[in-house]
């Protein structure tokens, strides 16, 4: 009997710090088990630029700019199961701490008025994605199938979650692996 088809998995970090991706690597030697059962499509691990048709999409980070919106919609369109991974994807996280502030004030403070900065302006290169006025959790833009909380979710939590998902079970985090920090 031939081995079952490997599941295709895409991952991305939107307004995140790649900490969740680092945590994925924290599953350590279980990476060998994982790679027996999945193959990676678009991901920082492969450097593929666009998401193909996938079984599972893992989204790290919230939505803070126009590019994030495009990437998130592409993932939703091409992934059967989309998972919000980590605090930022689920509630905006650290980047969303700017949501109380006026975006223009924020940018001017950083690029014009900060100590040691003089004569500079807010960057406006057309290649730079435009910032949204607020940072949004991903579920406010597209339908999300599952949420994996944590900042970051531990390697054990990611492994437990992915094991369920790959085996076709509803993912469930046991006590001790469910953390918001």
């Amino acid at each position: 009997m031939s081995a079952p088809r490997k599941l295709r998995v895409a991952t991305t970090s939107l307004a995140g710090c790649f900490g969740c991706h680092m945590s994925l690597l924290d599953i350590d030697e279980r990476l060998f088990d994982l790679i027996e059962r999945v193959e990676f499509d678009r991901s920082p691990l492969t450097d593929i630029k666009h998401c193909g048709l996938c079984d599972i999409g893992l989204i790290e980070g919230g939505v803070c700019n126009a590019e994030n919106v495009h990437v998130l919609r592409e993932f939703r369109a091409r992934c059967k199961t989309l998972v919000a991974v980590g605090a930022c994807a689920i509630n905006g996280g650290l980047p969303a701490q700017r949501n109380h502030l006026d975006l223009g004030d924020c940018l001017r403070q950083v690029y014009q008025y900060r100590d040691g900065v003089s004569g500079a302006g807010v960057p406006n290169d057309p290649e730079l994605p435009l910032l949204l006025d607020k940072v949004h959790p991903v579920h406010e833009l597209v339908r999300i199938d599952y949420f994996l909380p944590g900042c970051p979710p531990s390697g054990d939590a990611i492994w437990a979650f992915l094991s369920d998902l790959i085996a076709g079970r509803t993912p469930h985090l046991p006590v001790g692996l469910m953390h918001f920090d």
Binding site: I90, N91, Q97, P137, H139, C151, M178, F180, D181
Partner: protein, 234 residues
């Protein structure tokens, strides 16, 4: 009157005047709660202790037990309602757990774990709630307030200082400090007050003691609040 009622099919004895929640705890059964505290009369504001009795949704912290009652506290319907209440509390405030000193010891967070709240589901409101760091020993971070009024009640009824109050109504409700300036430093609030030690979330924080307990050893890191809460009492 005393007697017994059925909690999720199990017989629970009660004494005269005991509420459903009190009798359940005395018999070793946990009903989730946030604004209820054993040393204070029922407040009935968080509604997390909601149970179903005779087809009606009631606050178990406030309803006196009666003989023969059939109480549903753990059906998917009741757990789902509690999860929704938690989700609304999360989006109403700014509960950014990774930066909160209370994380791991926070009852709101622990209830979210208990009820498998994987996301807040609703759109976050991101309210503007500036902190008050004026007091030498205490930091007030209003972002996390869930309006349980435990600090209000403790300061008024036990400490005799009435340092805190809730003001405005509905979605505009918020915690204020009872001083003309509105600053905690301009009150006689002390780090030894009961009100300084009763906040279930991360609003009233002692300075210079944050993050002392490492992740993994905090109150609700390894055990669910349903177990920790009953162990605390016994």
């Amino acid at each position: 009157m005393s007697g017994q009622f059925l909690l999720d099919g199990q017989a629970v004895p009660f004494d005269d005047g005991q509420t459903i929640l009190e009798a359940a705890r005395a018999a070793g059964h946990y009903i989730p709660h946030l604004c209820w505290h054993p040393d204070f009369p029922p407040h009935g504001s968080c509604k997390l202790c909601i149970v179903k009795v005779g087809g009606r949704h009631v606050s178990s912290c406030a309803l006196q037990a009666a003989d023969g009652m059939e109480v549903d506290s753990s059906s998917a319907e009741i757990r789902g309602e509690r999860r929704t209440l938690l989700q609304m509390l999360f989006v109403e405030g700014n509960h950014f757990c990774p930066s909160c000193e209370k994380s791991g010891n926070c009852e709101l967070q622990a209830q979210a774990y208990e009820h498998e709240m994987m996301s807040a589901r609703f759109a976050y409101l991101f309210p503007l709630r500036p902190v008050d760091a004026s007091h030498p020993d205490i930091l007030l971070d209003f972002n996390r307030c869930i309006f349980c009024e435990l600090c209000v009640r403790a300061s008024r009824d036990v400490d005799g200082k009435s340092v805190f109050a809730l003001t405005n109504r509905g979605i505009h409700k918020h915690l204020v400090v009872n001083a003309e300036s509105g600053r905690l430093a301009d009150t006689d609030f002390s780090v030894d007050d009961l009100a300084a030690n009763i906040c279930p979330v991360g609003v009233i924080l002692k300075k210079r003691s944050g993050f002392k307990v490492p992740i993994g050893e905090r109150k609700y890191d390894a055990q669910p609040i349903s177990r920790v809460s009953l162990e605390d009492e016994s």
